[in-house]
Amino acid sequence: MTAETAVKAPRPRRTGRVRKPLLYTVASVGLLVMAAPFLWMALSAFKTRQDLTASPPVWIPTTWTLDNFSALLDQLDMPRYFLNSLIVAVLVTVSNLLFCSMLGYALAKLDFSGRSKVFGLVLAALMVPGNLMILPLYVLMNGMGLIDTYAGLVLPFAAGAFGVFLMRQFMLQVPDELLEAARIDGAGEWYIFWRIVLPLVKPALATLTIFAFLGSWNNFIWPLIATNDPDKYTLPVALATFANDPNRTVAGGNGMLMAGSLLVVLPVLLVFAVLQRHFTQGIATAGIK
């Protein structure tokens, strides 16, 4: 709402001079509350042990140090976990982009018997809390010999219903005439999908990339179950295991945990800040009718 409205209300609200600063104050306090844990984490990661155990606690490190990071890298094989998380996230993203857009295309642009049934299946899949069904999934993966493998971490998430839904919504907007013209010119369906439709839905692909990548990066319960060998841990699993390790020395450990959390969260925050437009777009597209 802008303060300058065309129609002057007979009893104008106290806008502008009095209300605006107040509203900005409230919003800023809210933002501070939302950001406080992140600030605390970022600052604590650079604190010395004295600062970490100081009572009352100190906000700003009296001496800035990188000790927490070096101790963390000594104790935990962070590069390996980082690489594991990255490999799994990239594979999940690529397979989602391919499979979800394929089905999205079929649902949006191809007449085939059973299409509405398949779409119904996709909608149903959106509503099933998959994390409740991990017990037989573990048995299945174990039987297939996929525990402690990248395949085991990637496959259950290789094609999400949300991605299908998103791609279908976007592909519905591609004009049929365009596809018909290509068909008349003798183009095959794969060519049309690959060369005509996909380039037209790049924004949707960007949105799906972010959702799939971050979903995988932040995923916890399945990697926790599907990995026994620390060499295959993803970042969250390694971090949680370390946090719940009773042998961890508390004071030094706290700084290390803050450093570790910062390393895990920082890439996410950066990606989000740069691409936040695609997030809201994705939610708005898929969310409310």
Partner: protein, 322 residues
């Protein structure tokens, strides 16, 4: 397999198009002319869906009627059928009943708090301020996208009684803070506070989308009639946002019914099971004690509750949009 707690759940909203995106039919000849291609394009998804979604749903149900244990992981077919034993045991199991109660507590307190704060944040950032909107929205939404394990670890320190952030703030003004995660009274509210902090951004984004669909003329008219801010909220914003709020309520409820990471990382269910949730209990029974049949029954009880809520949501939404 999609986790219903992430943004992916937003797609679960009702789709308005009556018939899934049918291109205009040009006579009978065009009907189903892409049969083979259509099915080919659907195959990868359907195979993965069958293996990693449909199979687990059916198998969980079957397992819940057996004595499935550690030795059956490699020989699943040797599990013995025990009828409804797991279910009857479940409802005599004090630990599970406590987990059920804790989960209900989490939902009953957490959901309204998340919805109200999310709505207020949306109104504030959409109607209240016009400068630096994006900046504020990023800040409010950031907790949603960050890695929950890392965030839960940070909250452990924020709440630490000896050198945590809350203690520090309290000591500034000469108060002392309780040992949040170490007391049976405070542990659950602390977890709820973190969940609210983390999830209100989702509700906010949904509500902002809803608010932007309300024509400004409606607000103008209300103001011309002398409506105050409170009346505008009660008579215009909330009624017009009803479908959005209902949808947000349901996805938040589903997420909170499933709550796992927060208690796993912050309290491991303690102190004395006061933060043990159904998901965490299921994980323990299934993967720490390998009572997999029993844990499957637990999963199914929660599954039925969640599906019930989802179906209810669809009904309510349908009534609303008419």
């Amino acid at each position: 397999m999609s986790l219903t707690t992430g943004p992916a759940a937003h797609a679960a909203a009702v789709d308005k198009s009556p018939e899934p995106g049918a291109p205009p039919r040009r006579g009978r000849r065009s009907l189903n002319r892409h049969n083979l291609t259509g099915w080919l394009f659907s195959t990868p998804f359907l195979v993965l869906f069958g293996l990693f979604m449909l199979f687990p749903i059916v198998a969980t149900l079957l397992m819940s009627f057996t004595d499935f244990g550690a030795r059956h992981v490699t020989r699943p077919l040797e599990a013995e059928f025990v009828g409804l034993d797991n279910y009857t045991k479940l409802f005599q199991d004090d630990t599970f009943l406590k987990a059920l109660f804790n989960t209900a507590y989490f939902v009953v307190v957490g959901v309204p708090a998340t919805i109200v704060l999310g709505l207020l944040a949306a109104i504030l950032l959409n109607n209240g301020i016009d400068r630096a909107r994006t900046f504020f929205r990023i800040g409010f939404y950031a907790p949603v996208v960050t890695t929950i394990v890392a965030v839960a670890i940070v909250w452990r320190f924020v709440l630490d009684p000896s050198d945590g952030l809350i203690t520090s703030l309290a000591s500034e003004v000469g108060l002392s803070a309780p040992d949040f995660l170490g007391s049976e009274t405070w542990a659950m509210p602390s977890l709820i506070a973190m969940a609210v902090w983390r999830n209100l951004g989702t509700v906010m984004v949904l509500c902002i989308a809803g608010l932007q669909a309300i024509p400004t003329e409606v607000r103008e008219a209300a103001r011309l009639d002398g409506a105050g801010a409170w009346q505008e909220l009660r008579r215009i914003t909330v009624p017009l946002l009803r479908p959005t709020l209902l949808y947000a309520t349901v996805i938040t409820s589903i997420g909170y019914l499933n709550v796992f990471e927060e208690p796993f990382v912050m309290t491991q269910g303690g102190p004395s099971d006061s933060t043990l949730t159904v998901s965490l209990d299921m994980y323990r029974e299934g993967f720490n004690f390998f009572h997999m049949g029993y844990a499957s029954a637990m999963a199914y009880v929660l599954f039925v509750v969640i599906m019930g809520i989802t179906v209810l949501q669809l009904r309510l939404l349908k009534d609303n949009t008419r």
